[in-house]
């Protein structure tokens, strides 16, 4: 499944590194389940940006599902 969560404006930079974020495939793992998701990533330090809507919406529901809640 092609899971892509890139903001419409990719005008974001990594503050500590001072470089623009790039859209990259990353692996998210939780409770033995792992997902390949495309997210904004700092090419220098590898920090990943997760927007609040994604974290409190889809990711939260996935957590609930994996925890049988």
């Amino acid at each position: 499944m092609d899971l892509r969560f890139i903001p419409d404006d990719m005008n974001w930079s990594c503050q500590p590194c001072g470089v623009p974020l790039e859209a990259r495939k990353v692996e998210i793992t939780y409770l033995n389940a792992s997902f390949r998701v495309e997210l904004p990533v700092c090419p220098k330090c590898g920090r990943i940006m997760v927007e609040e809507d994604l974290a409190t919406g889809r990711m939260f529901e996935v957590e609930q599902l994996l925890e049988d809640k």
């Binding site: 499944m1 389940a33 997902f35 919406g57 529901e61 996935v62 599902l65």
Partner: protein, 238 residues
């Protein structure tokens, strides 16, 4: 309304192996059973992708049975011999195969009648492999769409059905994580499980009913390996 496995959200996400985990449980079965040279029947073969994998793994004659002509055409393109028939009435001779595969299709059939038919076509000592949905809560619920969840029973019920049909269970594994992972991918894709079910059923009320049924039954995914314990007359006679 189309059955879940034929709905566009499922076919788009799982184009070849139309089930949770894709080919992972087929690969697992190949770890459990040496498929080399075996005559294999796949009851509910869909696109034939499992049989192709078994063929690459050294299996001999391959035969796919399904009710959906569109899917059988895809299996035919893979070079699989196919037949359109219900798994309760397989168009096959007695004792004709030594491995029968039924992946996420058994729950859509009359399970007891299918098991009797599986036993008829399997050689004595032949292997039966079923993967399907079970109810982890032990409860059943009304589902608003035809799907393998609707007929899901607790594992104890499945175990009894299979042994009562004349099979000895050699392995019964819980692979619920594969189902959860697929469901989670649908959440990522459609925003929520309710969003996924709304795409499948076409309306919000049915989507809510599907979510409620899921909460009540806690669907899981099992892999069962059993041996046909019937004995040939010629073998039994001294």
């Amino acid at each position: 309304m189309k059955a879940l496995y034929l709905s566009s959200p499922v076919r788009e996400a799982l184009p070849a192996a139309i089930r949770p985990g894709g080919l992972q449980l087929t690969r697992r079965l190949m770890e459990l059973v040496d498929v080399t040279g075996r005559t294999v029947v796949d009851a509910g073969c869909g696109t034939g992708v499992s049989l192709s994998l078994l063929g690459e793994g050294g299996a001999g004659t391959l035969c796919g049975i399904d009710l959906q002509m569109d899917l059988l055409r895809e299996a035919h393109k893979r070079g699989i011999v196919t037949a359109c028939a219900p798994m309760e009435h397989l168009p096959l001779a007695d004792n004709c195969c030594d491995l029968l595969l039924c992946e996420c299709a058994w729950n859509l059939s009359n399970r007891q009648a299918s098991l009797e038919e599986f036993r008829r076509v399997l050689t004595p000592g032949g292997w039966l492999v079923i993967s399907d949905i079970f109810s982890r809560s032990g409860k059943t619920a009304q589902w608003p769409v035809s799907c393998c969840f609707a007929n899901a029973a607790p594992l104890a019920v499945t175990r009894k059905l299979v042994t009562d049909a004349g099979f000895s269970i050699e392995a019964l594994e819980d692979h619920t994580i594969l189902l959860k992972q697929t469901a989670a991918e649908f959440v990522f894709q459609y925003g929520s499980l309710e969003g996924f079910w709304e795409r499948v059923t076409g309306n919000r009320e049915s989507a809510r009913a599907a979510c409620s049924a899921g909460h009540a039954t806690l669907p899981g995914l099992f892999l069962l390996l059993a041996k046909n314990s019937s004995i040939n007359f010629s073998e039994a006679t001294p």
